[in-house]
């Protein structure tokens, strides 16, 4: 009996020991994660704080404002920022809509249809996608210039640039579509649906996470783009997007008057994307990982 009791006590002690070591390792992990989060958040916090600073408009050597207010946001409202913001929003919205349609149709086609050179086409696009987009910058500029879609007419030009290679971004959504059983398509076709009806009545409702992921990524690329936007708009205040506009405020001749407004602009730019991500993060994660493992 005594031996049994001792064994039981030893087992309990061992269990407690394991519990304690698990607690310690968890604590260490959490401390590291919290530290990383703080380091990661510092620039964002600084920008938010600077956007509320009203005692001066230039860059200062401290973080906490001495005078707080919304003046920078009011100034922002009365500046060209409104136009840039609208330009960016229009571009991002149109690109998100067109790119989503193209990507989903492309992915569905490559997932479901079997045609000659299908695999070669996929490989070709994979290789093509490995080249940086920047390589095409000069020729794209020439083409857009000839079409009159640069400088003050940069908005449609940029839409064209972003949408042009949409079809090549099919990998993630094709992977997701591949996990949806083909027999659902076949059942719907036997039930009387056309291919298009199969896509929008059966496949797309089942692929909600990937649709949202596609919309988000399609929206994000033009929303934050700087290089192409700067090149195509050629710093014309009418055709600029918000990234180029804000960058202009950081040039040496403007930074002293516009630094805090730049920070306020940064906050305004980040808000819709942050809200969008927070609301849709569940779908976003499902979308990214959806094609990875067959469910």
């Amino acid at each position: 009996m005594k031996k049994q009791e001792m064994e039981a006590q030893a087992a309990i002690k061992q269990h407690m020991g394991l519990k304690a070591s698990a607690r310690i390792s968890n604590t260490v992990i959490y401390v590291i994660l919290v530290l990383m989060s703080i380091i990661w958040l510092i620039p964002f916090i600084c920008i938010v704080l600077q956007s509320f600073r009203t005692e001066s408009t230039w860059s200062v050597g401290y973080i906490l404002p001495k005078q707080w207010g919304f003046q920078n946001y009011v100034d922002l409202w009365n500046s060209n920022f409104k136009r840039w913001y609208l330009n960016t929003f229009i571009i991002a919205l149109i690109v998100a809509a067109i790119q989503t349609i193209i990507v989903l149709c492309m992915s569905y086609t490559l997932s479901r249809f079997r045609f000659k050179l299908r695999k070669s086409l996929m490989k070709f696009m994979l290789i093509l996608g490995m080249f940086p987009g920047m390589l095409t910058m000069i020729i794209l500029y020439r083409v857009l210039k000839d079409l009159g879609l640069t400088e003050s007419h940069a908005v449609p030009g940029l839409v064209l640039v972003y949408v042009a290679s949409s079809g090549m971004g099919y990998y993630v959504s094709k992977g997701f579509f591949d996990t949806i059983p083909k027999s659902l398509d076949e059942a719907a076709r036997v039930d009387g649906a056309t291919r298009a009806q199969v896509l929008y009545k059966i496949i797309l409702p089942l692929a909600k996470p990937i649709v949202i992921y596609t919309i988000l990524t399609a929206f994000m690329a033009p929303w934050g783009d700087f290089v192409f936007a700067k090149y195509v708009s050629f710093e014309d205040p009418v055709g600029m997007n918000v990234a180029v506009g804000l960058w202009k405020w950081l040039t040496p001749d403007m930074i002293n008057q516009r630094y805090t407004m730049f920070c306020a602009g940064g906050v305004i730019v980040a808000v819709p994307v942050a809200v969008l991500f927070m609301c849709l993060q569940k779908y976003y994660v499902e979308g990214v990982t959806g094609g990875a493992v067959k469910g």
Binding site: R114, P181, S183, L184, E186, A187, A188, R189, V190, D191, G192, A193, T194, Q197, K201, I202, P205, L206
Partner: protein, 372 residues
């Protein structure tokens, strides 16, 4: 309700693999035909070609006298039940069943009437507002059948609909399909790899192997007079015992000599051999396990290796002196407790069979000697 006619239908895949060879079949109106065969024999491919889900490489498929080769599945007036149910997961049971009717732009009140009637027949009324994930396998299969039912199609196609169910549920659903068939009174084409399903459901069975039709016939025809060795072994469980021996002829009488014995071929089989004037020589002799009996005296001496207790019968795996393995089906009802207890590993058993229950196959062509 319609007839289905397949003429020289062939399926060749892009990699030049021929899945179905010159498939000829005439399915009558309201007939229940079952395609049966092992995996990869082309039965599902043939069904999918009829459904329009697979392109037909050569030949023609006619439904109700109309060649449908180039018609889309939706234009063929067929309904299909899939092996994995293929229910639309984002829709309720009601919406699943109503889907095809809505595509036809049928008025909602008529859809309601049809869906509720089908649900009532299938006993799924209480699940109409549930999503498929909240249903059991059997309930899901009922929904899939309901979805096909409401279309009131000319031909009802079923691709291994019971394969995903457990044994008990499979038996239950099999009986329900028989009842459904009586209610719907339409043409059924059913695919399965399970010979029991084929035997119990079919008016006619089409037995396939490697893309070729091995035999077309009623379940009784296929069981009693298998066209070749493959059919003989495929139909019936446990499978038919095949014994290498010789067919001997003495005047009008025929004998076989398995394992050094001499058994006269009697009854219909003996007369048939004589009328066909079958030559004596080496043959493959087929005897079904249920036609072998245990005997106390004489017979073929064997050694018992495995005794499978199946409830109402025993499946005895015995080995002859030349190490040929045979299976014997023995009803338990005729056995005493002592006899049962004596049937253990290594025990000696004498077996015999009658001449009227034998099947004779050509060792080279493997064809039944009593069929053309």
């Amino acid at each position: 309700m319609a007839s289905v006619k397949l003429t020289k239908v062939k399926k060749i895949y892009d990699n030049k693999v021929v899945a179905v060879h010159d498939f000829d079949l005439d399915i009558k109106d309201k007939e229940f035909v079952v395609f049966v065969g092992p995996s990869g024999c082309g039965k599902s491919t043939t069904l999918r070609m009829i459904a329009g889900l697979e392109e037909i490489s050569e030949g023609t498929v006619e439904i109700d006298g109309v060649v449908v080769n180039d018609l889309q599945p939706k234009d063929r007036n067929i309904a299909m039940v899939f092996q994995n149910y293929a229910l639309y997961p984002h829709m309720t049971v009601y919406d699943n069943i109503a889907f095809s009717l809505r595509l036809q732009k049928m008025p909602e009140d008529l859809i309601y009437e049809k869906v509720t009637k089908a649900a009532e027949i299938l006993g799924i009324t209480e699940y109409l507002m549930r999503k498929p994930r909240a249903l059991s396998g059997g309930q899901r299969q009922r929904v899939a059948i309901g979805r096909a039912m409401v279309r009131e199609s000319k031909v009802f196609l079923m691709d291994e609909p019971l394969s995903n169910l457990d044994a008990k549920l499979r038996n239950q659903m099999r009986a329900e399909i028989i009842l459904l068939r009586q209610k719907l009174n339409t043409t059924f084409i059913y695919v399965t790899h399970d010979q029991t399903e084929a035997m119990t459901l079919a008016d006619r069975i089409v037995i396939m192997k490697d893309g070729f039709i091995m035999q077309v016939g009623t379940p009784a025809e296929c069981f009693d007079m298998p066209a070749n060795l493959f059919v003989a072994e495929f139909i019936g469980a446990p499978k038919m015992n095949i014994i290498k021996c010789e067919l001997l002829r003495e005047g009008d009488k025929y004998y076989v000599n398995p394992f050094g014995t001499k058994i006269e071929v009697t009854g219909e089989k003996g007369r048939e051999l004589a009328s066909r004037n079958v030559r004596a020589g080496k043959i493959l002799l087929g005897v079904r396990p249920e036609h072998i009996t245990l005997t106390q005296q004489g017979g073929i001496p064997t050694r018992l290796e495995v005794n499978e207790m199946m409830g109402s019968e025993l499946h005895l795996h015995v080995y002859t002196e030349d190490e040929t393995r045979l299976i014997v089906r023995v009803p338990t009802i005729g056995l005493t407790n002592e006899q049962r207890k004596s049937m253990v590993y290594g025990s000696a058993l004498n077996i015999t069979f009658e001449g009227k229950v034998m099947h004779f196959f050509d060792p080279e062509t493997e064809k039944n000697l009593l069929l053309d």
